[in-house]
């Protein structure tokens, strides 16, 4: 058995001493430093989400604890915050506005974007598919204020002409705008979900003589079900939280709609329209932040469920 000293003297090729296994050099410390920096940035997303919740709650919490009557807040449709004598803060009508517009938008967007996603992912090929994908991506990039402007100056006169109604800023207008706006995003997500189904499933089914449509219907859609549902939910979240487009296209009237031609007002739009005139720290200001808390919580739940549906079920 050799001793350590003999081993050292025999090592002809090795000029470096064995001790440097213990010497931490600049690279070692720099690596540790970067690992720390990168970790802090990595958790920044969590910090920001907590920060959003904290600051929105901080500004709105005074109203929640001191004056808010949950029943009145959630279940009455009377919203008149600027009434000096007896301001009323019922968001039922605002919720109805948001719900009706989002609901109609989804009615428009869900079938069309699923159909488009199936066409792009499964039927189209080569140049057509590339072109369609680029087009969908570009459509998804149009800013919401532009959509609002379209609702205001293009859809509005069109609806007045087609349906012979006095005002074209209504549930229908905002629903179509929001639907057109959400559709490209949902198409992209749905297409990703379809693409995530491994090709060997398709090949196995086609090898048994199934047509393309049979493959889609019997194999691809069931396999992509969760992804598609997650995409739809994210679309609902987008529609629910959309601000500028609904501010400009709904008509902005506090109202529980009877028909799609009624003007309504959405939760998000209310904040956008009134925050500027509310006194910082005042009751009206706090109520608007309370609506913000409500919006944050609802979208949080929607996003969480989308995530659970897409990934949680798979991972168990």
């Amino acid at each position: 058995m050799a001793t350590g000293t003999q081993a050292l003297s025999n090592r002809a090729t090795d000029a470096r001493p064995a001790g440097d296994f213990d010497r931490r050099n600049a690279d070692w410390y720099f690596d540790k430093l970067i690992a720390g920096v990168v970790f802090v940035c990595g958790i920044s997303a969590i910090l920001f989400v907590l920060g959003i919740f904290f600051f929105v709650t901080k500004e709105g919490i005074g109203f929640v604890f001191e004056k808010m009557d949950f029943r009145e807040f959630l279940l009455t449709p009377y919203w008149s915050p600027s009434d000096a004598e007896d301001p009323e803060y019922g968001i039922l009508a605002l919720m109805a506005g948001t719900a009706s517009v989002t609901g109609l938008a989804m009615l428009v967007a869900v079938p069309f974007s699923l159909g488009a996603a199936i066409y792009i992912a499964e039927f189209a090929s080569g140049k057509t598919r590339e072109a369609l994908k680029v087009l969908v991506e570009l459509l998804a990039a149009i800013p919401s204020v532009v959509w609002g402007f379209i609702g205001l100056v293009i859809m509005n006169p069109l609806l007045i002409k087609w349906f012979d109604i006095p005002v074209g800023l209504c549930v229908l207008n905002a629903g179509i705008i929001l639907g057109l706006m959400a559709a490209p995003i949902m198409t992209s997500i749905a297409e990703d979900a379809l693409k995530a189904v491994p090709d060997r499933y398709r090949e196995a089914a086609e090898a048994m003589g199934a047509t393309r449509w049979q493959v889609i219907y019997k194999v691809v859609l069931p396999a992509a079900k969760n992804g598609l549902l997650g995409g739809v939910l994210l679309g609902v979240g987008r529609g629910f939280g959309e601000t500028m487009a609904v501010l400009m296209a709904t008509g902005h009237a506090v109202n529980i709609p009877d028909s799609i031609f009624d003007s309504v007002r959405a939760l998000t739009a209310t904040i956008a329209a009134e925050l500027g005139e509310a006194v910082v720290g005042g009751e009206h200001y706090q109520v608007l932040f309370t609506i913000g808390i409500f919006l944050f919580l609802v979208t949080f739940i929607i996003n969480l469920s989308a995530d659970l549906i897409v990934r949680g079920i798979r991972k168990g």
């Binding site: 690279d27 070692w28 720099f30 690596d31 970067i34 690992a35 990168v38 970790f39 940035c41 990595g42 920044s44 997303a45 969590i46 920060g51 959003i52 600051f55 929105v56 901080k58 500004e59 079938p111 069309f112 159909g115 488009a116 066409y119 792009i120 189209a124 369609l132 991506e137 570009l138 459509l139 149009i142 800013p143 919401s144 204020v145 532009v146 402007f149 379209i150 205001l152 293009i154 057109l180 490209p184 198409t187 047509t211 449509w213 979240g237 987008r238 629910f240 601000t243 500028m244 904040i271 925050l275 608007l288 932040f289 913000g292 919006l295 944050f296 979208t299 949080f300 996003n303 995530d307």
Partner: protein
């Protein structure tokens, strides 16, 4: 060979039926795609037709006049450039580092999942809630006032997921074998990232950054109460000034200015769309060029 039964390869009724069904669905979904895209193209065409006449060098490079009823968009355009630049200075480094953490350091565990959930939420929280956050945190709590800084911080927090997601994707496109080869030579994690991973994903990251420019430029609600104003006669001199912005300017000219010449808001909309879509197209073209270049 000659003994093969020719009937074997002839379509049966069932085959023919299946083929018919298939064609029908193909047509249906193709039509749906068309119906989704055509109206938008028509709308964009209308915008172009109505706003095109407003666009000129003078429109781009002069200030609004006559109570914003006439004149150009220069202060708003410049303000948007300020807002986007400051927002990106903040969100791009943090976003890239966050993506490096997620792709190169984080394990596949509950903690990583929470970070991913936070990113999804950051992108999914309504923009007006981001505005409330920006007002509560940056304008009031940190006392930046309504300023470019406060607005850009708000925009940065809101649009950071774009950079994170794009960067993470392009980092993960670098095969793990390259990292392992590098680690086995005694490179630290950071040396590996710096010398092998980043050089091969930098163009993909750039694609994400361009995309973020486009997203940031189009946002309206988050800047309404944090730094952008309807009108100011002054151009911003520092990040603590207020500014006009293109997106808000469209909202203002479309809804708040009575008696405005019709083509002015159309022109503003056109400039905004052109800005956003150009950025997106550059990003897409970049990505396609990248895909054509094979490095392994």
């Amino acid at each position: 060979m000659n003994t093969a039964n020719p009937a074997l390869f002839q379509a049966s009724d069932l085959n023919r039926h299946n083929a018919r069904v298939q064609r029908r669905y193909r047509l249906l979904f193709g039509l749906m795609t068309l119906l989704l895209i055509t109206p938008v193209l028509l709308i964009l065409g209308t915008l172009l037709a109505k706003g095109g006449s407003a666009i000129s060098w003078e429109f781009l490079f002069s200030a609004p006049t006559d109570g914003m009823r006439t004149g150009g968009v220069f202060p708003a355009l410049l303000g948007t450039i300020w807002l986007v630049t400051v927002a990106l200075l903040l969100s791009v480094p943090i976003g890239i580092f966050a993506a490096i953490y997620l792709s190169e350091y984080a394990g596949d565990n509950w903690f990583t999942r929470i970070i991913n959930l936070a990113i999804i939420n950051l992108a999914g929280v309504p923009s007006i809630v981001h505005a409330l956050f920006g007002l509560g945190a940056f304008v009031l709590f940190f006392k930046f006032g309504t300023s470019i800084l406060a607005a850009s911080l708000t925009l940065a927090v809101m649009t950071m997921p774009v950079v994170i997601v794009a960067t993470r994707e392009s980092l993960q496109a670098v095969p793990p074998a390259f990292r392992e080869a590098c680690w086995n030579m005694g490179a630290t994690r950071w040396q590996t990232i710096r010398r092998v991973v980043l050089p091969n994903s930098i163009t993909g990251i750039l694609t994400g950054v361009i995309l973020e420019v486009s997203r940031t430029a189009g946002e309206t609600a988050p800047i309404m109460f944090t730094g952008a104003v309807f009108f100011t006669p002054f151009l911003p001199q520092s990040v603590f000034d207020q500014t006009m912005a293109l997106s808000l300017h469209l909202f203002v000219t479309a809804t708040q200015v009575p008696g405005i010449a019709e083509q002015v808001p159309f022109g503003v909309a056109l400039v905004l769309i052109a800005l956003v879509l150009t950025m997106n197209s550059v990003s897409i073209a970049f990505r396609m060029w990248l895909r054509g270049k094979k490095k392994w």
